[in-house]
């Protein structure tokens, strides 16, 4: 005797698998593929390459991959630009290849 609800159970299974796939996809996107995380990983690699002296090692040790923000209570506002603009408070970073130039705007020089 064929069970008429069989088709619905297959549909349920399929839809559930799709749902789980997107939930996992969203978690992966959030944890590993976020653009700012990639940018910070690149910057940490740069710091690792340059960590030849004490100051370089100190910068590397201080660096965490995290959302960074400048809070301005007077304006009731926060800026998170520094999350991606990692080397902005480090004059030495201006001379690092790949940092002084904005990707896609190679003609312009942002070095001080």
């Amino acid at each position: 005797m064929k069970d008429p609800s069989r088709i619905y159970r297959w549909v349920l299974l399929l839809a559930s698998l799709i749902t789980v796939a997107y939930l996992v996809g969203a978690a992966v996107q959030e944890n590993y593929l976020a653009q700012w995380k990639g940018i910070q990983r690149q910057y940490r690699n740069l710091l690792e390459d340059k960590a030849t002296d004490d100051r370089g090692r100190e910068l590397l040790a201080k660096f965490r991959i995290e959302m960074k923000q400048a809070s301005i209570p007077a304006l009731g506002s926060v800026d998170r630009c520094v999350t991606c603009h990692n080397g902005i408070d480090d004059p030495a970073a201006a001379r690092l290849p790949g940092l002084s130039v904005w990707p896609g705007r190679e003609g312009r020089n942002y070095a001080p």
Binding site: M1, S5, R9, A15, S16, I18, L23, R80
Partner: protein, 427 residues
């Protein structure tokens, strides 16, 4: 701090969107898409109930409850639209509240706005002010998170309860006359005596309760109905997640009353109305929506002849009436839009004409008249209220869809016609 409340709300949405809150953007997308899908699904559900004649006796009351739920759904979506407090939200709600203000076109035209101003009252009731500001924000917020959900849940409870009270989902009279089909076999289940009232026990032949079988040609809710419902539920979730994964909810700049969006468009489900409002505010914003809602509410009370319940296009001639009305409504609506875009309307031809003429005679009111005439013609020729209702309902669906599409795609800055948004002038 209070003065900055809208800014704080906007920044909160920015934070939600900007990957600072864990999976915040994904969750906001789901909220947005689920809201849009709900409006769409409610409309589709109404169409299904109509075309399967499921509003007929004894389900008239539940049809009315459904209409109430439609209005609440639109109100929920509309109030939620303002809350991000970006430019899109601000100007969409400004347009929406101007639609609420549209009785003023009539009161202005006959010069009584000073004494009697229902439009201004409606707008102030909605916004708490004469413009979209902080008072509107708190009003929309309380409506969105408290008042409307409470009303929704209450009416939903009534809606579901009435399904059981009205004898389950609408379905044809037991087509097998006491026989049941199960696993490819037809078996006698039960023949009730007309003169007798039965308790549940009397419905069952034999010594044991039936397994997987009940009286009439029915099966048990568990597992059959529940598997189906669970499947539909998960399919809905899967569709929502798919849309949310690939398409982000929009977020423009912080709302700025000094920089109007051009074109400023209402949420999509009100764009058909906005197109009609562009002809005449009173007609598009008051009279036609009222006619549509009252017309929908009257359907089960005008169409009282039993038959066809629970079957798609269940009475004779319905399918041909459906197709005829579909092409008729397509032709008329497209023709009206093409005429209006190419040749303008009364104001372009007679610049000094009294506004009352435009309120009375405009593309929107003509569409309503033509559709009503078409429906009366069907009623006269086919002598069937159901067929007349089908023709009118199809005209409503077609013109709603076309006007919504037209206003979404083909209306640009200053509500001018453009083939594509890419042709809009830069400003």
């Amino acid at each position: 701090m209070q003065a900055r409340a809208p800014l704080v709300i906007f920044l909160t949405v920015v934070v939600l969107d900007g990957e600072t809150v864990y999976t915040g953007r994904f969750i906001r997308n789901i909220h947005r898409w689920a809201a849009q899908l709900m409006v769409l699904t409610v409309l589709l559900h109404m169409a299904r109930v109509f075309f399967t004649a499921s509003y007929k006796k004894p389900r008239e009351f539940n049809w009315l409850v459904g209409l109430g739920l439609l209005v609440i759904t639109l109100a929920l979506s509309f109030t939620g639209y303002l809350l991000p407090w970006d430019q899109l939200a601000y100007w969409a709600i400004t347009i929406g509240s101007n639609i609420a203000n549209s009785p003023r076109e009539l009161t202005d035209a006959i010069g009584i706005t000073k004494f009697f101003d229902p439009g201004g009252f409606q707008k102030r009731l909605l916004l708490g002010a004469n413009f979209v500001g902080q008072d509107s924000l708190i009003r929309f917020y309380v409506l969105h998170v408290f008042v409307l959900p409470l009303a929704l849940v209450t009416l939903l409870g009534v809606h579901f309860w009435r399904i059981r009270k009205d004898g389950g989902l609408a379905r044809p009279e037991d087509p097998m006359g006491g026989l049941a089909e199960w696993g490819g076999e037809r078996r006698t289940v039960f023949q009730p005596l007309a003169s007798k009232t039965y308790g549940l026990m009397a419905l069952v032949k034999g010594k044991r309760p039936p397994v997987n079988r009940g009286p009439e040609n029915t099966v048990m809710s568990w597992p059959h109905l529940f598997w189906a419902e669970l499947a539909v539920f998960m399919v809905t979730v899967a569709i929502t997640l798919t849309l949310s994964f690939y398409w982000d909810a929009p977020l423009k700049e912080l709302a700025n009353p000094a920089i109007p969006e051009n074109p400023a468009k209402a949420p999509w489900y009100f764009l058909g109305l906005q197109e009609l409002v562009s002809y005449s505010a009173f007609m598009g914003g008051v009279l036609i929506p009222v006619i549509v809602l009252v017309g929908l509410a009257l359907i089960p009370f005008l169409d009282r002849r039993a038959g066809g319940e629970g079957v798609w296009f269940g009475t004779p001639g319905e399918e041909s009436t459906f197709w005829q009305s579909l092409f008729f409504a397509l032709a008329v609506t497209l023709g009206m839009l093409a005429f209006t875009v190419n040749f303008g309307w009364l104001r372009n031809w007679f610049p000094h004409i009294h506004q009352l003429w435009i309120i009375a005679i405009n593309p929107g009111s003509l569409l309503v008249l033509i559709f009503a005439g078409w429906s009366l013609l069907i009623l006269k020729r086919k002598d069937s209220v159901r067929l007349a209702a089908v023709s009118l309902f199809v005209c409503f669906l077609v013109s709603f869809t076309l006007l919504t599409y037209f206003a979404t795609v083909h209306r640009g800055p200053n509500w001018q016609f453009y083939w594509w948004p890419s042709q809009w002038p830069l400003h």
